[in-house]
Symmetry: C2
Subunit: 333 residues, 2 copies
């Protein structure tokens, strides 16, 4: 096996989040599906930005947030994703590197601007996202460095990669390299609407063994199996996936294997300020546990601790050291 | 008198803040004076950004923050300041307009990038600032619209305007128009180092009546009169200014006129997360009170309430409605 350099390498859309508070009326007026992620083109991006309130810019992107969480937990992470060589692209690259993540995907020198996600945070802390993919559309199989993939314990992929035209090829290339090197491949289903767009392909990835570990929240799981019944969906994913991790917000998570289901409670928080990044950071905790040989229940505990940190402030990346936080909870990774 | 359109019009450097957490060691290693504002050139800006941690981008600028506070209090505000027609310039313009402030200064189409301020927030909540002035340097007297100034109850100016080459001419032009229209002119001394750079000029502005109301914190007042003794400094400013408002962090504020001193307590807060904008928002509350004919003690109360909101989160602009906040405290503006 090649030398191990990373616990987790993530591949995803490189995005800067533009977060503003909004009320439910705003979502209705703008025709936004609360809690979902919609893909938007540039004119729509401009119209939304024009209509939305004063915002804060924070680097984001689902898999990118996860890898920042991995680094914050004291583990070694790398990220692959495409920005443009513009101001927001510099911001993205600065923030992920400053968080201790290796990021060396070359930026695009022309073409559309760095991707941004306009996020409306409603008073209940729920987030509704509108993504302009921009430069992230140009992620290409050439951006995958085989040595880096082979050097990572786990390759982590976001379902959102199915949206840009060539990113899924990069995804499949990385998965093949990872398995060739004896490593594991994990996937997050990302979003219920995303599942709806690519249901057959996602099921194929689970069933043909391209993906070893799948993360989904309840809505995504229901969408995957087109059922409103949780138990039906859980039984279905047990047959399709080697290891499935289902997150259920304040109800905690369920780790599903062929042998058993493990329900793990959520970490209680005083108040949810902004749910953006909850799933991403749960995945960070779980994956670091998995890479370090922690049992599944404790992997889920690590995920719950990391998620609890990120929902108590604006933005999808940790503001304090997750390593210190999980050590305080008794973990030694 | 021309029709009144604004309670307060602010003129200042249009800046996007780049905020990151840092410890005191970082400040020492980087040679930064804790709590101060240093002007930096582009290479230094790049070096600081390279060295600093993951950041958040939030529109800032001292007078701009104040005017956003004015709007959040339900009063009418306008802002004059120079950005470039680039991504951060668009961000600045979006955020200030989305906050309900009129902002119509044309952006520069070439020249340096939109100004940014690299802000290190230490664990005690204190902020240390490094400003790259960029496009803000190109604010020019032509950017002052005489009708807008004449239509504002109070014209509010930041001492930082003495740094860019032509902004002080814009400042003096605006002050002359305001007084010609029977309005009032207010100035914040901005920063102790800024006072050190322009002490004689600032004293001249107070003594010759260009400025009717001056805002200063203790450090700035001590720097203005080159004394370490608070009483000496207060007695000196009483002779020089018609109305001086001295802010003293958790010790509250002192309103100084020829006739009397009024000490007003600070609004208690659980924990200071980020002191950035405390002085700016204090000025917002005080100025709105002044424009609406509130007595000085209650102007200072309004200032204290607004400042307390902004120090409890990252960034120098209010996250919740200051109007609702001061109404809950018994004010009807």
């Amino acid at each position: 096996m090649p030398t191990l350099r990373y616990d987790v390498i993530g591949i995803g859309n490189a995005i800067v989040d533009v977060l503003a508070r909004a009320d439910d009326n705003f979502l209705v007026k703008q025709g936004m599906a609360k809690g979902g992620m919609a893909l938007i083109d540039q004119p729509r991006a401009e119209a939304i930005y024009e209509a939305m309130g004063p915002a804060v810019e924070i680097s984001g992107g689902s898999a990118a947030n996860t890898i920042v969480g991995v680094a914050s937990l004291g583990a070694r992470g790398a990220f692959v994703g495409k920005v443009k060589d513009d101001e927001f692209g510099h911001t993205f690259a600065h923030d992920i590197r400053a968080a201790g993540v290796e990021f060396s995907t070359p930026p695009a020198s022309d073409g559309p601007a760095t991707a941004r996600c306009y996020i409306m945070v409603t008073p209940d802390g729920e987030r509704t996202m509108n993504t302009y993919l921009g430069a992230a559309q140009d992620l290409h199989p050439n951006d995958i460095d085989p040595d880096a993939i082979a050097a990572a314990q786990i390759t982590y992929l976001e379902g959102y990669l199915w949206d840009p035209p060539h990113a899924k090829e990069a995804f499949l290339k990385a998965a093949t390299i990872a398995h060739g090197a004896g490593r594991r491949v994990a996937l997050t289903l990302s979003d219920a609407f995303c599942v709806d767009r690519y249901r057959a392909e996602f099921l194929g990835l689970l069933r043909n063994g391209t993906v070893d570990v799948v993360f989904a929240n309840e809505r995504e799981l229901h969408s995957l199996y087109q059922t409103a019944d949780f138990e039906t969906a859980v039984n279905a994913v047990r047959n399709d996936a080697k290891l499935a991790v289902v997150t259920r917000s304040e109800q905690g998570s369920l780790v599903v294997t062929r042998e058993q289901n493990d329900a793990v409670r959520a970490e209680p928080v005083d108040r949810v300020i902004d749910a953006t990044g909850a799933g991403d950071l749960f995945a960070a905790g779980f994956l670091v546990g998995l890479a370090r040989g922690v049992d599944h229940r404790n992997c889920a505990r690590l995920g719950a601790l990391a998620a609890a940190e990120v929902i108590q402030h604006m933005g999808a990346r940790p503001e304090s050291s997750l390593k210190e936080l999980v050590e305080a909870a008794g973990f030694a990774l």
